[in-house]
Amino acid sequence: MSRVNYIVWGVLLAFGAFVIRESLNHKYYGSDFGPGPGFFSFWLGMLLMVLSLVQIVMIYRRPAEPLPDGFIPSREGIKRMLSIMGALTASLFLMEYLGFSLTMMGFCIFLLRRLGRQPWWLTLVLAVAASFGATYLFGLLQVMLPKGFLGFI
């Protein structure tokens, strides 16, 4: 666990340094006597760095701890997570071109088959309900969802 903690607090330390660096691009004091755009972020970055450093020192002084049970996901677990993240990311990029309904149809079919292992008929019924059904329902509520190249779904 110590190595994981070193990495986590190390990343936070680096992020704190990054925030400080960014804040230095802005004025510390504003033109109207008050703090400028860089004031808050500078001190937040400092606080983050100090906290991270203190934690790193504490981890160094503390004896090594084993990883909690189940901390590292199983291979199947990783595959499931990657499937979800992959489907979400793909749908984000495809939605503008394919439109909401078609993208969500593919999204649902993929996840229901890959993770749900549902029969084809149920997969199709649920996918149509979640994609075209949602488009229709939210259309009634005047929520405009991306239409894509076909221009109507």
Partner: protein, 501 residues
């Protein structure tokens, strides 16, 4: 007395068949919208505004207020059943509500939440009647200095939500603040942390972050383990009433939650999220078993759910024109769309409207109790839907919710990114609630600090020379010291335990 006469006139208007029907429709729609995971009260209320376009202003706002109340309760349902809070106010309900659901006690959690919400909401509505007029007069005395100090109290509460590690809670609070500063600086107009990305100029919106942290993050955590058996409430939901031994605890928690929520409701700037977080912290502090919080104790649901309804977030909106939460901000937008400007003048210029809406809040509470208590079992049937199917629907609604706020795919991307962050934070035992709280309070705090210092020409002593501000600063200091004091021995114990291992 004057207020009660106005209220009676308000009841006469609110109890007209048409307004009663709109209130009922609003409660049903709000609960449905709130139940849809990832949609939440803010997005739900915003989505339903077009429905009210053709109504006259009083009916429109009565319906929207009912939607808000319904969605708040709907958000509680999703917090308990699937660990997805509708809004920041329901975040804390997840901690014990979801754990209760996992033990097959979702019904009891939802039942006590409905009872607490009804009691708190009713007291708050009567409170609004009592304090509205004096508070409107007092409103002119509050300046940015007092607001800043008040918000500082809110931020120090982050320490009370420390969980296992104070350092981790502080880091999450800081990260929430940093997130909140992304966008165009409100005073100088300079873009901060935008890296040339145009959509970041508008800042990071609260809803995609919440949906990502709590919706996508939770789904990823569940997917990592297994997709069967992770859904809350594998056991049967047999009763929506607490056990006999839990009633006494629940009643005292509800009373404390009502008192606290109502008190905080009087203070402008503190939204229902602050009330629920603070209420949870207090319950843990006064409890004889604080270590059991987070494992499914009923007071962990009863108190915050009561407090966030007793908070009467509409008090600051109606009396001072200050929206206390994203949903209230949407209601404020709806009021302005209907030609009504919230603030002290509302009571004098549109008295009939205001009092009808206030009366409808009380009626809405009764409708919600009638609607929800018997239907708790029905809502709990959502548990029977296999998680691997429900999960896909949650993801679709999260995408719709994030997109529909601003018709922006960037917000969907932000939600996915926050989902990944949420997963990592949960995995590493970093509490998410402090980040959400500071994300909400950050911009308000920065703005009031900078306005105060503009007034004082850069002199920081302004915060100590104004009595109300000084009171809030002392309160913030006391909370900070108490929280640090409580966390310190725990850290030492943790260290010695580590040494033994």
């Amino acid at each position: 007395m004057e207020a009660f006469q106005h209220l009676m006139t308000g009841f006469a208007a609110a109890l007209s068949p048409m307004n009663l029907m709109f209130a009922t429709i609003g409660c049903v729609l709000g609960t449905l919208i709130g139940v849809l995971p990832g949609l939440g009260p803010a997005a739900g209320t915003a989505l339903l505004i077009p429905i009210t376009f053709k109504l006259e202003p009083t009916s429109a706002i009565i319906m929207l207020a009912a939607i808000y109340y319904g969605a708040m309760y709907g958000g509680t349902i999703t917090s308990v059943l699937i660990n997805v809070p509708g809004e920041a106010a329901s975040v804390v309900t997840c901690l014990d509500g979801y754990e209760m659901a996992k033990q097959g006690r979702a019904g009891a959690a939802l039942g006590i939440a409905a009872i607490g919400s009804f009691f708190g909401g009713t007291v708050a509505t009567f409170g609004l009647v009592l304090v509205a007029l004096p508070l409107t007069r007092f409103a002119l005395k509050f300046g940015p200095t007092e607001y800043f100090s008040l918000l500082l109290v809110g931020l120090t509460l982050v320490m009370g939500l420390a969980g296992k590690s104070l350092a981790k809670a502080l880091v999450m609070g800081i990260l929430g603040l940093i997130f909140s500063f992304v966008g165009v600086d409100p005073v100088e107009g300079a873009p901060r942390f935008t890296f040339g990305v145009a959509p970041l100029m508008d800042g990071i919106r609260f809803v995609p972050v919440v949906m990502g942290f709590f919706g996508i993050g939770e789904i990823l955590i569940n997917a990592e383990r297994s997709l069967t058996g992770v859904m809350a409430g594998e056991g049967k939901v047999s009763s929506f009433f607490p056990r006999r031994d839990e009633w006494r605890i629940s009643i005292t928690s509800i009373l404390r939650g009502t008192g606290l929520g109502f008190f905080l409701g009087l203070i402008p700037g503190t939204n229902s999220a602050v009330a629920s977080f603070m209420s949870y912290s207090i319950e843990r502090k006064v409890s004889s078993h604080p270590d059991k919080f987070g494992t499914g104790v009923i007071e962990g649901v009863a108190a915050p759910e009561t407090a966030n309804n007793a908070n009467a977030a509409l008090i600051p909106l109606f009396t001072l024109g200050i929206p206390g939460s994203p949903t209230i901000a949407i209601l404020m937008g709806a009021l302005i769309m209907n030609g009504l400007t919230p603030g002290p003048l509302l009571f004098s210029q549109h008295a009939a409207f205001v009092w009808a809406v206030i009366a409808s809040l009380y009626i809405g509470n009764i409708i919600l109790l009638i609607l929800n208590l018997p239907l708790v079992g029905w809502w709990a049937k959502l548990l029977k839907i296999p998680y691997n199917i429900l999960m896909v629907f949650i993801l679709v609604f999260c995408i719709i919710g994030a997109y529909s706020l601003n018709n922006s795919l960037f917000d969907v991307g932000m939600m996915i990114f926050c989902g990944l962050l949420g997963y990592l934070f949960k995995k590493l035992d970093f509490p998410l609630a402090p980040a959400i709280l500071t994300l909400i309070l950050g911009p308000l705090m920065e703005q009031s600090l900078r306005e105060s210092l503009s007034v004082s020409q850069g002199d920081f002593t302004i915060f100590f020379t104004r009595p109300i501000s000084l009171f809030f600063l002392i309160l913030a200091g006391v909370i900070m010291v108490t929280s640090a004091w409580q966390a310190w021995p725990a850290a030492i114990r943790e260290e010695s335990k580590g040494a033994e291992v």
